[in-house]
């Protein structure tokens, strides 16, 4: 087989991306996803009420990620954390492969834009159901772009089916509707443009296209009803987006902090879009402009939306750069010697990916100790302290994995289950504000597990009713006397 320099470049690019995407599991929510998957597999039922907390037990819980959770647990059962890390690195790579395929520019230019986009999204990567949403988001854009270019309906047929799968995987399915809306709006703008230029009529193909997309949107909405929570799941994503407690207290909903090195590639991506857009003056379709603007705004609003922006904007950036930079069309095939050199290069990249995998899997145990109160939980398992545990929000998921069903948690990452009022109460207690004792007594809390920097630690240390049972650099555990 003969490979060109370009093919080699693409192979190395995606192998490198795959290596980058492999990282230890550090997401606090991963653990309750895993436990939920196990619960569903073992009970053959999807929970509709909270089984994990003692504070909100029995309260309605919309387990919108149930299929992802089964997927995560099944992979874990088969190959443990290592296989999960590999699978999700594959999902992330596949997402960017779709972004690559959407870009009509030359590989080197797309490669540069893609790398920038990947760096911008890297802080959000991990073993999380969102990764599946990002993949489906990229797939939607890929299908709709292909349809826009070819007008072949075969690209639209999978969309309602994908929505049916997506709605059971993650609440991000609503992004599918947003994308369809944007493509419809883009076509309406095209229609207006044609009207102004007096080049179109009411029977124009654009109008027909708008109607087809509206039909697909309706079918997709109907498909979204096929989920264990029925019509309730249609309003669920908007409830999450309007939750003040989540927006104000959960870090991934904050605007990106550009003082942090990890978010600086996002600033470069924005600046590159501005700079190349102004220099190249490439005519970009209204749909692509809308996609960039809508998801650009979403990214600046909340860092968890940055991948959506990168996925939408990378092809636009590639087009813009392509109109500024002129690279010689190089489709030369390589000679025999170079062929072996290229083969060697690809193998080296595969080797690097393999070594990276080994190191990430080895790192997993340390990451667990660094991010979660692993030793304190060991202590609880050994000593079985009596009573309910008050825990830090970010550790709830880990405790569910390690301690459920012997212990239930006070709170965990399922903010929608707890609601704004409860979360605000939790924050007041965790900050050691007046009334914290009554708050703990109300829920019959006898054990408190906190980070040493927590303000409540100061109060508990001074209190005569509590004593330190265990402490290390990561956590401190108090028990009621």
């Amino acid at each position: 087989m003969r490979i060109t320099i370009r093919q080699l470049f693409v192979a190395i690019l995606f192998l490198a991306l795959f290596s980058m995407a492999m990282r230890p599991i550090a997401d606090p929510d991963f653990w309750w996803h895993l436990r939920t998957g196990q619960l569903i597999v073992e009970t053959h039922a999807i929970p509709h009420a909270d089984p994990f907390s003692f504070t909100n037990q029995g309260k309605t819980w919309i387990a919108h990620e149930w299929l992802s959770e089964i997927f995560i647990y099944s992979i874990y059962r088969i190959g443990g954390n290592g296989l999960l890390i590999l699978t999700f690195a594959g999902i992330i790579t596949a997402t960017f492969l779709l972004v690559y395929l959407r870009s009509n520019e030359r590989p080197y230019i797309v490669g540069f834009a893609l790398l920038l986009g990947a760096l911008a999204t890297a802080p959000t990567w991990g073993v999380r159901p969102q990764m599946i949403s990002y993949l489906l988001f990229a797939l939607f854009l890929f299908l709709l772009d292909r349809y826009t270019e070819s007008r072949k309906k075969k690209y639209l047929i999978p969309i309602p089916i994908l929505v049916l799968v997506w709605v059971n995987l993650h609440a991000g399915y609503a992004l599918g509707f947003a994308i369809l809306d944007i493509y419809i709006a883009g076509d309406i703008l095209e229609l207006i443009k044609a009207k102004i230029a007096k080049t179109g009529s009411t029977n124009s193909p654009i109008l027909k296209n708008i109607l087809i997309l509206c039909g697909i949107l309706v079918l997709s909405v109907l498909a979204a009803l096929a989920n264990p929570n029925g019509i309730r799941l249609l309003t669920y994503p908007f409830e999450t987006l309007s939750s003040q407690a989540m927006q104000q207290n959960i870090q991934e909903w904050f605007s990106p902090d550009f003082h942090q090195v990890e978010w600086q590639p996002l600033a470069w991506l924005i600046l590159a879009l501005i700079g190349a857009g102004l220099l190249g003056r490439k005519s970009i379709s209204p749909t692509k402009i809308l996609l960039t603007l809508v998801f650009g705004y979403a990214a600046l609003l909340s860092m968890r939306h940055v991948p959506l922006f990168a996925i939408a904007a990378v092809p636009v950036l590639a087009e813009e750069i392509g109109s500024v930079v002129r690279i010689r069309q190089d489709v030369r095939q390589v000679g025999r010697l170079l062929k072996w050199v290229n083969f060697l290069l690809v193998m080296c990249t595969v080797l690097v990916a393999g070594l990276r995998f080994v190191s990430v899997v080895q790192e997993q145990a340390n990451t667990e100790k660094e991010k979660f109160p692993a030793a304190a939980v060991d202590w609880i398992i050994q000593h079985h302290p009596a009573g309910n545990i008050f825990n830090t929000y970010g550790w709830g998921g880990y405790l569910i994995w390690r301690l459920y069903p012997e212990y239930h948690v006070y709170i965990d990452g399922r903010a929608d289950v707890y609601g704004d009022l409860f979360i605000n109460d939790y924050l007041r207690i965790e900050a050691g504000e007046p009334g914290w004792e009554a708050g703990l007594a109300h829920e019959d809390v006898r054990v408190v597990l906190l980070e040493p920097a927590s303000l409540l630690v100061k109060e508990l240390t001074q209190s005569l009713d509590w004593e330190t049972a265990y402490s290390d650099e990561k956590s401190i555990l108090f028990v009621h006397k």
Binding site: L273, G275, L278, L293, G432
Partner: protein, 496 residues
Amino acid sequence: MKRETSPLANYLLPRLQDLIYVIVFYFVLLVGTGLFRDGDPGRHIISGRIIMETLTIPTRDSFLYTVNNQLAPPYAWLAEIGYAAGYKALGLSGVVLVAALILAITFTLIYQELLSRETPRLLAVPLTLWTAALTAVHWLARPHLFSILFLAILTPRLTRLAKGENVPLWQFPLILLIWANTHTAFIFAFLIWAAFIAGNLWESMREKRGLDNPTLRKLFLTAGLSFAATFVNPVGWRLWQLVLGHISSSYLTDLISEYQSPNFHEVSGWLFLITIVATVILLSLSNKKHIFAETILLATWTALGLYASRNIPLFAIVTMPMLAEHSRQLLDSIPALARANQRIETIETQFRGRLWSILVTVVCVALLATGTKLDANQQGYSFNKVEFPVEAVDWIELHPQDGNMFNYFPWGGYLIYRLWPEYQVFIDGQFFYGETLIRQHQEILNADPGWEDVIRQYGIQWMLVPLDSTLAKVLEKDSGWVILYEDQTAVIFRKR
């Protein structure tokens, strides 16, 4: 048919430019209390008063006992004189008046710049007011308002110079000479020079003109002369040391709220975002040629705005003329608006104006001098009782305390304003003294391990801290401290 107005009416009727001046000037007077939502104006007023009374510019600090007599570059002495003069004449009303004048002149200049770039008047007015709204987030009675003004003076001149127009070169070092003695943001001027020089070099290379380019020579010459002019200040090269040391401290820039990235959940973030998007779209769609330097400027200032919300006002001043320049095409594509603009321009060119700007300024000065309250709440200008320990300081004046005080740093400027020279503070909102002191302040305020050692190090006998601070909660339960005073905002503790 062209409508003619009488010559007298031409002088009596206000021009749009006068309206901009009057709107901004009066609006600042209405919201003037908001100019004191930060403690720093207090320190600047007192610093200016010292300079006016002693006719010397102090280069060593006398406000903080923790850094007593340490070199404190008077980086804003001219601005401080300006605010202190206003204060001497009319108290805090005079300070608001100075700020209102600076802002009204700034946005009148912006409006004039938009017109000089052939922006239709119909768009120039809302765009100028939009620029004002973008800067409003940082309207405080502090020297940085002068930086907004100087940027509005410098940028148009540099743009014309970079476009090859004739601009008297002596103006540039003169502007920088005054700016460097007024506020530290003068360093941003050199970013603009760098953008124009880079843009000019790029275009020279593309057109294969090489370096034999008179515009480029002028840009280098003015940048060099202006750079030299910045050293003419009471502390010479140390001013640069102060500025660079300050912005290179990631600890300080991470700690101070105005250095944080914008929060796009807030309206100010929205305004910024809309402006970026509108500028990019307008510049992309416009057939009018824009110079490469403008692309660099837009990208640079967007980056600065994304990095720190305090840069958004400067972003607005630099980029709005670019956006406006390309707006005529948009207006021309809507015939009804183009006709309306034509009518406005026909009428406007007949007016001579100026009367209303002068009249409104004189009347407002006279009203404030006679004690009339012009703020929206009719309460007069003051530091807010909820944000500042106003009543606690009243109590201190009645019950003098001996020994060193620990204070919450955002209150430092206010305490200097109220209590200096009887009391010196632990810290205030200035950061020329470096990271150590602010770290120690945080250590005490959060009652972090070792906070009592810092108390001993500085011989602190009493503390004035927010009621809801961690320190207040800890001291409440500490038998070594007693509460002397407490209200909704502040609490005073004294060592037993």
